[in-house]
Amino acid sequence: MNTLYISLIAASGLIFLWVIYAYNLLVRLKVRVEGAWRQIDVQLKRRHDLIPNLVEAVRGYMKYEQETLERVLKVRSMAINARTKDESIKAENELSGALTRLFALMENYPELKANENVLTLQEELISTENRIAYARQLYNDLAVQYNTRQEIFPSSIIARIFGFKPASYFNVGEEEREVVKVNLT
């Protein structure tokens, strides 16, 4: 009888410890997912700050590309003023597309490559573009981990009880998938 009690207590103790472990793991993942999401915001802000400088620096050289430059600025202000999350994601994706187009056009101006200021600004923006992409990649990777943890048995029970919700994935926008057309004539 005594041994039965002891083994029951030990078993429930072990289960309790496992519950704590599983719960903490979920919380830790949740915090990392949220952190990765904030990182994306930080990098988007950095991009918004850099764009006007680059546009001003290249405006003098790229006289025939005013339309592209205006579009970059317009989409930027759209992205800053976006109210809802969906609007913001859409505007940011459009901004990525507009910037890719601008970089491709800049290749046509050899004199831009000699300008150290422009080169540095371009490098900063390319780096920021990469950071945004990598931050999204990290977010998606973590979201996969977090969601898998919530789906698989037995930690799915813990997720159900404590009401963890699956994180949404980041999709690549249509704008970014579009092939950039460069006019070489």
Partner: protein, 482 residues
């Protein structure tokens, strides 16, 4: 699909795990044999002591190694430079920190032409990453991204820690095997052959003791190579661009010349503290003695991940970059000169303005009355030497030169020095001024010391020197004890 990076990481992880188990089994078996036959105490005293001796030595290189070598070799924080290539490198490091979700590691540059990169540090929080000047200048953005991602993969996989454990076991196995062999030769007094009456077991133990150091080495190297494949796949997981790293490896494979600064200091540590570097130039005929897998094979695997099947090419890489005069932007050519010890020194002189670039050590080793090639002073210069003002760029590293003055020097002379490679630039007037003044000044040790310091002799901190000494003593002790 066998070219998926997740698959490669998983496969190599399993293999590493298996190899480590074999390693531990070998160690326990050897220790068991020794303790069984000697049986001095009821505890496995030999096994434990061999393990601890080895662990202490490994821990020293684990906690000090990378830092000491970086200090001794004169690595400079990457964030200090604001030239394009260096800024870009720093940007890439922070991009990869975001991609891998680790804190930003301390990034350093080393003044060495050989393209290489390595990491050290016990955990992702304390990680250091070092890039050579060669790799920063040689590679383009995508390639450098691949290389830095490879190093981040080493950090994420905690390869420094893993290899320290392996080295500990390896060292312990060598110690045990030595003890067994010595015990055998020392005579029948020491080892009780009759105990248990198991002669076959004794013979097996003896044979194993003979070959185990070799076996341990082969195992350790296999684990190390596995780690490299895993880091390559990990880099692709971070960048999703296998071709960048592949083309970087191809460039490094074709680079002629070798790294000098680092290799000269590595011997100080029993565990190579910088073994997390990119690829090794040293290749033995037998693959199982190499820390790194053959570069060609790595390139093929990486290309396969991108669905390409092109073989690694051998491109001709210009080893020597043409130097550009920091003063006037002209072409520089080599001029012969003789050092105080009669050794030939090749100085670089600008063909148009006559200014001279002295690499680290060169100015100090020229001595008070140097002998120059004939046209060194007589050369007709098309453009007059500009006054040394404005932005001057180091012809080797591509970073801004710093004005350095010393109260020992005459008023008119200002050294333009590179912080990274400690090279010195003197324009035509300064050069003439310097040498005529140097001739007048009688030979004095004190002055020579100062000059050596200027041209980049040890600028080591005392602490670093102490650690170097301790490391040296300990590793020589180990060699004696073995």
């Amino acid at each position: 699909m066998d070219s998926d990076f997740y698959y490669i990481i998983e496969k190599n992880k399993r293999l590493s795990f298996l190899l480590i188990i074999v390693f531990i089994a070998l160690f326990v078996f050897l220790g068991g044999i020794l303790d069984f036959f000697l049986a001095v105490l009821p505890y496995p005293i030999f096994t434990i002591s061999a393990f601890f001796i080895s662990a202490i030595l490994s821990l020293i290189s684990f906690f000090w190694g990378g830092e000491v070598i970086m200090n001794a070799a004169g690595a400079v924080p990457l964030a200090k430079f604001n030239t394009f290539e260096y800024k870009r490198a720093l940007n890439i490091v922070s991009e990869m920190a975001i991609a891998s979700g680790t804190p930003m590691p301390k990034a350093y540059v080393l003044s060495e032409n050989f393209p290489n990169a390595f990491t050290s540090g016990s955990s992702p929080k304390r990680a250091c990453m070092c890039l050579t000047r060669g790799i920063i200048m040689l590679l383009n953005r995508d390639e450098l991204q691949g290389v830095i991602a490879h190093e981040f993969a080493h950090i994420l996989h905690r390869d420094t820690l893993k290899m320290t454990c392996i080295a500990t076991l390896w060292g312990a196995i060598s110690i045990l095997s030595e003890w067994i062999l010595k015990g055998m030769w020392a005579g029948k007094r020491k080892i009780n052959f009759k105990k248990g009456g198991a002669l076959p077991l004794v013979l097996i133990g003896f044979a194993l003791a003979l070959i185990s150091p070799l076996l341990a080495r082969i195992l350790a190297m296999a684990i190390s190579r596995n780690g490299e494949y895993m880091a390559d796949a990990g880099a692709v997981k971070l960048t999703r661009n296998p071709l960048g790293l592949a083309s970087a490896l191809e460039k490094i494979m074709n680079f002629q010349g070798k790294g000098e600064t680092l290799n000269s200091m590595r011997f100080l540590f029993t565990v190579d503290p910088l073994r997390n570097d990119l690829c090794s130039k040293k290749t033995n005929i037998f693959n199982f003695f190499n820390t790194h897998p053959p570069v060609e094979k790595r390139i093929i695997i990486l290309r396969k991940m991108a669905g390409e099947t092109t073989e690694p090419r051998s491109i001709k890489l210009s080893v020597k970059r043409e130097l550009i005069c920091p003063g006037c932007g002209g072409k520089m050519s080599e001029k012969k000169s003789i050092s105080t010890y009669g050794k030939l020194i090749l100085l670089d002189q600008c063909e148009s303005c006559g200014g001279v670039w002295f690499d680290r050590w060169e100015l100090a080793s020229l001595g008070p009355s140097p002998v120059f090639e004939e046209d060194f002073d007589r050369i007709k210069f098309l453009t007059p030497s500009k006054p040394s003002s404005g932005r001057m760029i180091c012809p080797r590293c591509g970073i801004k030169l710093k004005n350095v003055k010393s109260f020992d020097l005459p008023e008119k002379i200002t050294f333009k020095m590179c912080e990274l490679c400690s090279g010195i630039w003197l324009n035509k007037e300064e050069k003439q001024e310097f040498f005529s003044w140097r001739k007048k000044k009688s030979y004095s040790n004190k002055f020579n010391d100062k000059l050596s310091k200027f041209s980049g002799e040890y600028s080591l901190r005392k602490e670093t020197l102490n650690r170097l000494t301790i490391g040296e003593i300990l590793s020589s002790l180990l060699r004696i004890s073995l």
